[in-house]
């Protein structure tokens, strides 16, 4: 079936075939090339030099990489637990989904940076396809859907987290896919709704923020689609009960983890209450006021123009910091799109408004704020409203000049982002990505046989994990180490300067400011040419 679809510009009539969201028909039209172009752009942006940009794996990535390797080789984590539901790691008890996905990619690509980041890039790519499909389902507007996909494919926010091992990116895909399948199931009164709920469960096992987002969002969906849910219940009562029981059983390990001491450690350590100055002598009403004030400040910070359009997240790993999480040219379209959404209150507008309002809640309950990783769920509704505003503008200003001007802005700002990401960012973000740690671990591995002992400064944070990942340590052996962060085999980790009081030759990885008695072997520098470590023979 071929529809003649008039684009907003009279000069570019576009023939688009009817695109079903289940499969794309390969007709002689522009829909397939457009989608292919978007997927190709997504693929290139996310997979190009994935192992080298960002330059180095940071501590959590290395931990994910080695835990995944340990699962792949032995079926156990580095503490010897068989196929765990949470990974103790650095006593932060990571959720399992990303690690298990990494074990598959390490099986395919080996134990390296590319394999550790591959699942994030893959799910980032799948997110774009799913987002286009969801927009087609909700809006039936091909132009808006394709634009939404294109903006997500070139989004600085989403691209940044698709190019490193961030669980939040993977959980975003599961939330998006789950939402699509639930809405599709409600529309068609089909059992595919159960699959949507399964994806929601997967998101809970992937990252922490869905545990706040999913309940609120599901509540909104129940309220908004009350009749459709009731109709579904009428049709599939038995199946709903059976699947419901299965899903509750599937969630039991999650609840066990969430309320265990390990699970609560993470929540307590990141809670926003640590920034609220309350003592035992603070009156109750004052405590409530201070905590409430802080929570609201945290929540509204996610809508800060500085965060969204100018500076981004102040954490060097979460943004390039020279531009915002969104492109500046998108600001008027975003504001106009939200305004139109509030005014017209279409079904998709209400859905994405609620999505946008619920998404920052998880991040607001933690610290610091705004946090681009915890707020990643916001990127989809924001890009929906940008697309919405853009389409309205295109319809209003039907001119070639306007279209060309917008194209220029799009290309210019995207080029600026890529320039900053590949040229400036590696030089300025070395410490954030532990740049130099891999080179140090490689040097140790190459020369350690010449020494009876290797002493490493505690400034080399999580050094033992870098040694495991870049070295040749058998996971079966690693699982036997009791406190590898203090010492194991011939490795010793010290907080203060180390002095060799024995006759044995020691390889010493020292801080830059130290000058021990011995022979200087190597200076390790990062991409910004700053000294990371000095290596000595003492």
């Amino acid at each position: 079936m071929v529809w003649r679809f008039k684009s907003s510009s009279r000069h570019f009539p576009v023939i688009i075939s009817f695109v079903r969201y289940r499969k794309i028909q390969l007709n002689k039209d522009l829909a397939f090339p457009l989608i292919l172009g978007i997927i190709l752009t997504t693929f290139l942006v996310r997979f190009f030099a994935l192992g080298n940009y960002p330059k180095s794996l940071y501590g959590d990535e290395v931990s994910i990489g080695y835990e995944a390797y340990s699962i792949l080789k032995t079926g156990r984590d580095t503490f010897g637990n068989f196929l765990p539901f949470s990974f103790r790691s650095y006593e932060d008890f990571k959720l399992p989904s990303y690690i298990y996905a990494t074990s598959i990619s390490e099986f395919l690509f080996g134990r390296n940076a590319f394999a550790v980041r591959f699942p994030s890039a893959l799910f980032g790519t799948l997110t774009i396809i799913t987002f286009i499909t969801l927009l087609l389902l909700l809006t039936r507007n091909k132009l808006l859907s394709f634009l939404g996909g294109l903006f997500l494919a070139t989004s600085a926010w989403h691209t940044h987290f698709s190019r490193a091992a961030f669980e939040s990116n993977m959980s975003l895909f599961f939330i998006l896919a789950g939402t699509f399948l639930i809405l599709h199931g409600l529309n068609k009164n089909s059992r595919v709704l159960f699959l949507g709920l399964f994806f929601y469960i997967l998101s809970l096992y992937t990252y922490h923020s869905p545990r706040i987002f999913i309940p609120f969002f599901l509540l909104f969906l129940f309220v908004m689609y009350k009749r459709k849910f009731l109709s579904f219940w009428q049709k599939y009562k038995k199946a709903t009960l059976v699947v419901g029981i299965m899903y509750i059983i599937a969630l039991l390990p999650y609840f066990q983890y969430a309320f265990s001491p390990g699970g609560l450690i993470r929540a307590r350590s990141e809670s926003f209450m640590r920034d609220v100055k309350i003592t035992s002598s603070t009156p109750f009403y004052e405590s409530i006021y201070k905590a409430g004030n802080r929570l609201l400040e945290n929540y509204f910070s996610y809508f800060s123009l500085e965060f969204l359009f100018f500076h981004g997240d102040y954490n060097g790993r979460h943004s390039v910091r020279e531009i915002g999480m969104l492109y500046l040219w998108q600001m008027p379209f975003l504001l106009y799109g939200i305004y139109k959404g509030i005014k017209e209150k279409r079904e998709e507008d209400l859905l994405f408004i609620s999505w946008l309002l619920i998404a920052p809640v998880a991040g607001a309950l933690a610290s610091p704020n705004p946090h681009a990783l915890r707020g990643l769920n916001m990127v989809l509704p924001l890009l929906y409203f940008i697309s919405r505003g853009f389409v309205v503008f295109l319809n209003r200003y039907r001119s070639l000049h306007f279209s060309l001007f917008c194209t220029f802005l799009f290309v210019y700002f995207f080029y600026q982002y890529l320039h900053i990401y590949y040229i400036h960012y590696p030089k300025r973000s070395g410490p954030d990505w532990s740049d130099g740690y891999r080179e140090t671990a490689d040097y140790i591995r190459t020369h350690e046989n010449d020494y009876s002992k290797v002493v490493i400064t505690a400034n080399f944070s999580k050094a033992y994990m870098y040694l495991f990942f870049y070295g040749n340590f058998d996971p079966n052996q690693v699982q036997k180490y009791k406190n590898p962060n203090e010492s194991f085999d011939k490795y010793l980790f010290v907080r203060n300067s180390y002095t060799n009081t024995s006759d044995e030759k020691i390889l010493y990885v020292a801080r830059e400011i130290e000058t021990p008695l011995g022979k200087h072997l190597e200076t390790i520098r990062n991409s910004g040419n700053d000294i990371v470590f000095e290596i000595w023979e003492i």
Binding site: G292, L296, S304, L305, E306, L328, H419, I423
Partner: protein, 141 residues
């Protein structure tokens, strides 16, 4: 940018200068055209100006000086007010005045004007919200 976020034309000029100084060497080895395409006075000055201007509308800036609980009322007023162009132009003009800083007001004066402005908007937003709520109750019973 600026003292406590109250940036002026002087801050914009300083930011332009320091950005050019740090960004151009960072691109060492690249073709000159590509360096200057992104790192030129026009683009950085435009960027800094817009950043300074929108800083006055920034929620984080507002919550520095007002309780965050007033934000929804301010937002409601700015969305629902009938003569939007007038209000937005007025707000924009005040902030352009802050940026140009012709009378070199001290920081305290600027903070007071800023607080009064947004506090006023929140009160108007609250009144507007209450009136519309009462109107709905009358209509729907």
């Amino acid at each position: 940018m600026g003292d406590l976020g109250f940036c002026t034309i002087v801050d914009i000029a300083n930011t332009t200068y320091t950005s050019l100084l740090s960004d151009i060497p960072a691109d060492f080895g690249m073709p000159f055209f590509f360096i200057r395409l992104l790192h030129n006075k026009l683009s950085i000055f435009s960027w800094s100006t817009l950043k300074c201007f929108f800083q006055y509308f920034d929620i984080e800036q507002i919550t520095q000086f007002l309780p965050p609980v007033l934000i929804p009322y301010i937002a409601y007023f700015l969305i629902r007010i009938p003569k939007k162009k007038v209000i937005y132009s007025l707000l924009g003009s005040v902030y352009i005045f802050f940026i140009l800083d012709p009378f070199h007001w001290n920081l305290g004066t600027k903070i007071i004007i800023y607080q009064v402005l947004y506090f006023g908007l929140s009160i108007l937003g609250g009144i507007l919200f209450t009136l519309r709520l009462n109107k709905r109750k009358l209509v729907h019973g």
